[in-house]
């Protein structure tokens, strides 16, 4: 193995003091140990080439969550990203600050977005009683189950790449929902139903996730926030929280595919809004008219898929298994 490796970096810079807050790209090249991480390269730049480059980092061991940033367009914890894995043939790496968060300077983003989302889920144990002596009794399995979410180091990678937050800043976000799950699943917490109800009812709550999987893909600690969100939804429905467009959307989707073997999009839109929800239905009308003009309006009476009986059999087989 050669003594050193040449790393080429293209870093997005931002200086708020520069007139109007200028953004620009800057290229660097460093020669470092072949096993080095992207963070090692950036530290090398900062220490040897350009002291003005700002980034956060602390532990270098993927436990403090400081060094989230975008590498070639995807959020990563750069201390655990080896250069050879992202640039196997010495390609130039594009480094940018995380997305969906205000940039303070260069690769440093404001922590306000992330932590205001976390605070919305009241992220602390709310027990019904506190033992006067000793600890709460709980099974080891129930505690180990929570480790998935406790592995979260609050690096913000999931928030950075969340496609919902990109268009809706009010979404509570993947990290906060995973944190909420950590409490709804904790046998010591007494507010499970209240938490579920609030996350179910809240504008920007659990139903706003579009299941794009991006947070699962970029999470460096295996928290898989989207999976936690899906578990929250199931728990919320089980607890009887069904008066939401999210639940109606799920149910309509389920029923129309079961019945017709394909999705009835017109009905899905109306079901999700709710048949008596006149204001929401009026909101939908212009979308329907625009779609009709372009010839994109789905048929009002759905066609059945040729194989719809086989789809139904699949449903029955799966439901039979889960019973």
């Amino acid at each position: 193995m050669p003594e050193t490796m040449n790393v080429k970096l293209k870093v997005k810079r931002f200086d708020p003091a520069d007139s109007g807050g200028k953004t620009w790209w800057q290229e660097y090249e460093v020669d470092i140990h072949p096993d080095s991480t992207v963070l090692d390269s950036l530290i090398h730049v900062r220490e040897q080439d350009d002291g003005t480059l700002a980034l956060r980092c602390a532990c270098r061991a993927s436990i403090c969550g400081s060094c989230g940033m975008k590498v070639n367009g995807n959020a990563k914890l750069v201390c655990k990203t080896r250069v050879v894995d992202v640039a196997p043939n010495g390609e130039q790496l594009t480094i940018e600050p995380m997305g969906n968060q205000h940039v303070v300077r260069d690769l440093v983003v404001s922590l306000d977005t992330f932590f205001s989302q976390i605070k919305r889920v009241e992220p602390f144990l709310k027990p019904s009683y506190v033992p006067e002596q000793g600890e709460y009794t709980a099974s080891n399995e129930s505690m180990e189950n929570l480790l998935t979410a406790m592995n979260c180091i609050m690096c913000g990678c999931c928030v950075s790449d969340c496609t919902v937050l990109e268009v809706d800043a009010n979404f509570i976000g993947p990290a906060a929902l995973a944190k909420a799950w950590r409490f709804t699943e904790d046998p010591r917490d007494s507010q499970r139903n209240e938490r579920l109800k609030s996350l179910n009812d809240e504008d920007g709550g659990m139903w706003d996730c579009t299941r794009c999987m991006k947070c699962v893909e970029v999470c460096p600690k295996g928290v898989a926030p989207m999976d936690r969100i899906m578990e929250l939804r199931e728990a919320a429905i089980e607890a009887g929280n069904t008066n939401t467009s999210g639940y109606r959307h799920t149910e309509s989707f389920y029923k129309s595919v079961k019945k017709n073997g394909r999705l009835d999009e017109t009905r899905l839109a109306i079901d999700s809004a709710g048949w008596t929800n006149i204001p929401r239905l009026l909101d939908l009308a212009p979308i329907g008219i625009a779609a009709m003009r372009k010839g994109k309006l789905p048929p009002l009476i759905p066609h059945k898929s040729e194989d719809h009986t086989r789809v139904k059999e699949l449903y029955e087989s799966v439901e039979g298994e889960s019973k």
């Binding site: 002291g51 956060r56 602390a58 403090c64 260069d106 080891n140 480790l147």
Partner: protein, 560 residues
């Protein structure tokens, strides 16, 4: 200008535990930290937290004695008695706050074995115990609405009429300099690992708190006691928790021998850290290492067990070295890890400066003496973080209103501006690396008069260059370049105290192992070293000594 009853510097375990205590008492408290609290280095504690729980057949005296023996009898026994007897309640309280400790079949907290102790009394969360506790204390801080100055960097303590009355700090996000007045200040700013290179410590562990207190006239105690952790990952220096050995891992040399049999036949891999690190270094020095490492072997524990109980270690081993621990042993070496020495405090966290308290790694109570037991550092933070808060609350009852004096901020602004105004000079990182490598070389696992004098000489060279470095970034917003320059000055203070303490102690004890004086000398050296800042002296300091407090355990020969 900002004002609080109590200001806590540092948002790690000691700082947040203290903050919870002050908040509960209804006093006005704030935490100030150069990083967001969840970025603190308490995160990096992996293996667990010790507590002798009496309802499980353990007794606090057993833990106290193991701690004192581990300390090579340098710990103050009154302080250890307090820590051990308060340990159980401190850990149970963390559980009641929400920490998801691993449990046994009965649904009660479970334990694992740890070094230097025959009783398994280490409570844990996988291999992320520090992180799991830190995040829960952070949750509590949100619940209590704790005021945190996030990413503010303290540059100076305000001392008025001999008492600590606040700080001067830079808000890194704006670059503005402010004073924060306080009736009492609790220093919980963490360790100084970056004084050495390599180190398991985060890049933020630059001894800021130790230096600030030292500058204010408080002695730093037993600074020569530097812990080299026996298992740090080859090349990267990343910590591999003692939990691996606690759960049964072997240490092997190049000949496949469990070499601990030679030095610690009874405790084997679970001897005290200083003992294991020396044994490893001896293997490496005598040619039975592998490229400067020995091997940590977990294969016999099985994949399922490794992934369940030591998941983070497996993650790190695969991510950084590409080694699957279930299939292959991992190359490891001793690495600088912890500083037993620190700001001298009494058992209530009080320093000799009224209104200034200290807790956690930056403090020296002293409970770790010449060698800290694994899983005692987390315990130290919560027990003494709470005690410092309790005592500070008492102290502020008799403190008058905040003063109006503003001279501190003017002089600090001028000092910082002068740093920024320096034209083309040496890079901070170059000087820092020279300092840190010189420290590792001179004050290593093994040391002698010549190596320590080498460190002193190197440090003199480093100090002479401090007036010549320049800050490339002249901007205000998030100017980490300026912060690194200030941190270097803090680190040099710490290095100075380490070297002074080391040259003073004419014996081998715990982590201070001199190859030229290999024996412990209780007759002359059952003493603490106290380094005071003193510019009238040749090396900028003077060293005094004080007796170790012995309550019920007379020093005996330390055998594992």
């Amino acid at each position: 200008m900002y004002e609080h009853d109590v200001l806590i510097i540092g948002g790690g375990l000691a700082g947040l535990r203290a903050a919870v205590e002050v908040t509960r008492a209804g006093a006005d408290v704030a935490v100030i930290s150069k990083v967001h609290p969840v970025r603190s280095h308490s995160n990096a504690a992996q293996g667990g937290i010790n507590a002798p729980l009496t309802d499980r057949g353990d007794d606090w005296e057993g833990h106290a004695y193991d701690t004192i023996k581990g300390s090579d009898f340098l710990a103050d026994q009154d302080a250890v008695e307090i820590m051990s007897s308060e340990a159980g309640e401190a850990v149970l309280e963390l559980e009641r706050m929400g920490v998801i400790f691993s449990r046994g079949e009965d649904g009660k907290l479970g334990t694992r074995a740890f070094g230097g102790q025959k009783v398994a009394r280490t409570f844990f969360v996988g291999a992320i115990t520090g992180s799991a506790i830190l995040h829960v204390l952070f949750e509590q801080s949100l619940k209590l609405g704790l005021n945190v100055y996030e990413e503010w960097f303290v540059t100076k303590l305000i001392i008025e009429d001999g008492a600590c009355r606040g700080v001067v700090a830079i808000d890194l996000k704006t670059g503005d300099v402010h004073t924060i007045k306080a009736k009492a200040v609790i220093m919980a700013a963490g360790g100084a690992g970056r004084v050495f290179e390599p180190s398991t410590n985060a890049l933020i562990c630059t001894g800021d708190g130790l230096s600030l207190a030292y500058q204010a006239g408080v002695p730093l105690m037993d600074m020569e006691m530097i812990q080299y952790h026996p298992t740090t990952l080859a090349r990267t220096g990343i910590l591999m928790s003692e939990a691996a050995r606690g759960e049964g891992a072997y240490l092997l040399n190049s000949e496949g021998e469990r070499f601990m049999e030679k030095t610690a036949p009874d405790y084997m891999e679970l001897a005290s850290r200083d003992v294991v690190s020396r044994a490893e270094q001896t293997e490496i020095d005598e040619g039975r290492g592998i490229d400067g490492n020995v091997l940590l072997d977990l294969r016999h524990l099985g994949r399922e067990f490794i992934e369940q109980r030591l998941g983070y270690l497996q993650e790190v081993s695969i991510e950084f070295l590409g080694i699957d621990m279930a299939k292959q042993p991992v190359p490891i070496q001793p690495g600088m890890h912890y500083i037993m020495g620190g700001i001298k405090t009494d058992v209530d966290g009080a320093t000799i400066v009224p209104g200034l308290y200290a807790a956690g790694e930056c403090a020296n109570v002293s409970v770790h003496g010449a060698n800290r037991l694994g899983a005692n550092s987390l315990l130290d933070t919560v027990v003494f973080g709470r005690r410092a808060a309790t005592h500070a609350l008492e102290y502020i009852k008799n403190v008058g209103a905040h003063s109006e004096a503003e001279e501190d901020i003017a002089s600090e602004k001028a000092r910082l501006q002068a740093l920024l105004d320096r034209q083309k000079g040496e890079r901070v990182a170059t000087i820092r690396n020279d300092m840190a490598r010189g420290m590792t070389k001179g004050i290593g696992v093994f040391r002698d008069q010549a190596s320590m004098e080498g460190a002193l000489e190197n440090l003199a060279n480093v100090k002479s260059r401090l007036s010549g470095f320049s800050i490339e970034n002249k901007g205000k917003v998030f100017n980490t370049d300026l912060m690194f320059g200030l941190e270097l000055q803090f680190m040099v203070d710490c290095a100075e105290a380490v070297v002074a303490g080391a040259l003073t102690r004419k014996e081998s004890r715990g982590a201070h192992f001199r190859t030229d004086i290999t024996e412990r000398d209780d007759e002359n050296w059952l003493k603490h070293t106290l380094v005071y800042k003193d510019e009238t002296q040749e090396h900028g300091n003077r060293v005094e000594t004080s007796d170790v407090t012995i309550t019920q355990w007379e020093p005996v020969k330390r055998v594992y």
